[in-house]
Symmetry: C2
């Protein structure tokens, strides 16, 4: 518990990078994508599946190069995605050594880790202050779900996947996040405070999906944590599993509903 709190404090400087936005945040996202890929693929190794790290790292490089050359060009992002998936397919041509599972895990890593985390950059480029909504919805849901579950938890949510989670926790996590999002909206972006309520609601649900998705992968990989980069907190992927899902939700809400 002490390690966990101390490590938690050690993460505070990260918030400075988020506050700065722009290049520092972009650098943080690249690091999260690279370490995230390593952790995710190492998890697959534990179950005998061998995705190709090199293709994924090259894919990170190309995506951020495209972003530097033509920020917010979704046609190029789709081209990047199609290209990455095609190149990953080539990986299974050595049929004697590799299986479709190796190629498929490579593809899923590229989309789940690299493409999803890239939406943090997209939010920062479109509506910088909303980056806080990405983090707020990811972390508030966790905290409120934990305490609502602790005090009121009676009915199990999905015992085989995540035995400690309760329906009361899920409801409390969602409610708490909606309230915090409303408060954030009221003080920071008063002109759209009620939109923040909706965003908070949707993102809180997807935040829990993100958490459970990571749990589902880890359970089948037979690992408890993705890594031990942050003592007491596991790896990057354990900490940011919800962010991977809240970032696209917040981004597309901003891009398609607010605009």
């Amino acid at each position: 518990m002490k390690t966990r709190v101390l490590s938690g404090l050690a993460m505070v400087p990260l918030l400075a990078l988020v506050y700065l936005g722009g290049y520092p945040l972009l650098a943080l996202c690249v690091i999260i994508a690279v370490i995230g890929i390593k952790e995710f693929y190492d998890g697959f190794n534990a179950m005998g599946i061998k995705p190709c790290h090199l293709i994924a790292y090259a894919s990170v490089f190309v995506l951020y190069l495209i972003n530097a050359a033509a920020p917010g060009n979704f046609q190029m992002i789709c081209a990047w995605l199609a290209g990455s998936i095609m190149i990953s397919s080539l990986y299974m041509f050595k049929t004697t050594e590799r299986t479709p599972a190796d190629a498929m895990a490579t593809m899923v890593g590229i989309i789940y880790v690299i493409f999803f985390s890239f939406h943090v950059v997209l939010v920062d480029q479109t509506y910088p202050v909303m980056i806080w909504m990405v983090l707020l919805t990811a972390f508030c849901t966790d905290i409120f779900a934990y305490f609502s579950g602790y005090f009121f938890g009676k009915h199990k949510l999905c015992p085989t996947l995540s035995p400690k989670k309760t329906i009361e926790g899920a409801v409390g996590g969602t409610l708490g996040t909606v309230i915090c999002s409303g408060i954030f909206g009221y003080f920071v972006v008063p002109e759209i405070w009620w939109q923040c309520l909706i965003m908070g609601f949707v993102a809180a649900i997807f935040s829990q999906f993100g958490d459970l998705t990571a749990s589902a992968y880890k359970r089948k990989m037979g690992i408890k944590d993705y890594g031990n980069l942050i003592p007491g907190h596991g790896g990057i992927m354990d900490r940011f599993d919800s962010v991977l899902f809240t970032a696209p939700v917040i981004y597309y809400y901003i891009a398609l509903v607010l605009n």
Copy 2:
């Protein structure tokens, strides 16, 4: 051989749909996506992996709905993609019945079959006549590779994956396609005929990647053909495996290089 030729002739009416473009072609793409998903997922079933058909069919529906509401909106296409992948993740929450492989196969089907084939529609909406380049590069590569291999084939290309393919076939397929693309360009789009040479070259290579990708999946699935929809030709996925790769190549060349 006789069945093969007769069935080949039976496919000629399909060319009429391609010639018409617009809604008839769109309908054809929806049908290819739906049958393609069925064949691809049935192949996974043969190796004990159970992707979710329902999510993929819903995903086809939403993609073509988005295309009707906002044609060529790549931001929405990315939102569709992120959403489809997130929803597919939910599929593995029932850990007692399902594995990450089931969810991952669902995701790969959505990208490989639905997203890739959708580029045929995108080409038709952007530069209709270029739809012929998608088909020409896919089918010429096949035919020229077959005959070059037949007459000159000496060195095996990838014996474990596709034992009959030769390096001479691959080179001949590429060369023949470049020449045909140049002829097509000279007569149909003379203002960009030399761009057709480049497109033909790149698409011919990816056409062979598409063919080998389908072979790699089938080999590991332990099936010879994806289906028997077209007697003597296998299923939709056997016929259009190269188109799945040439369509994105031609589309992004048009969208990013020509424009």
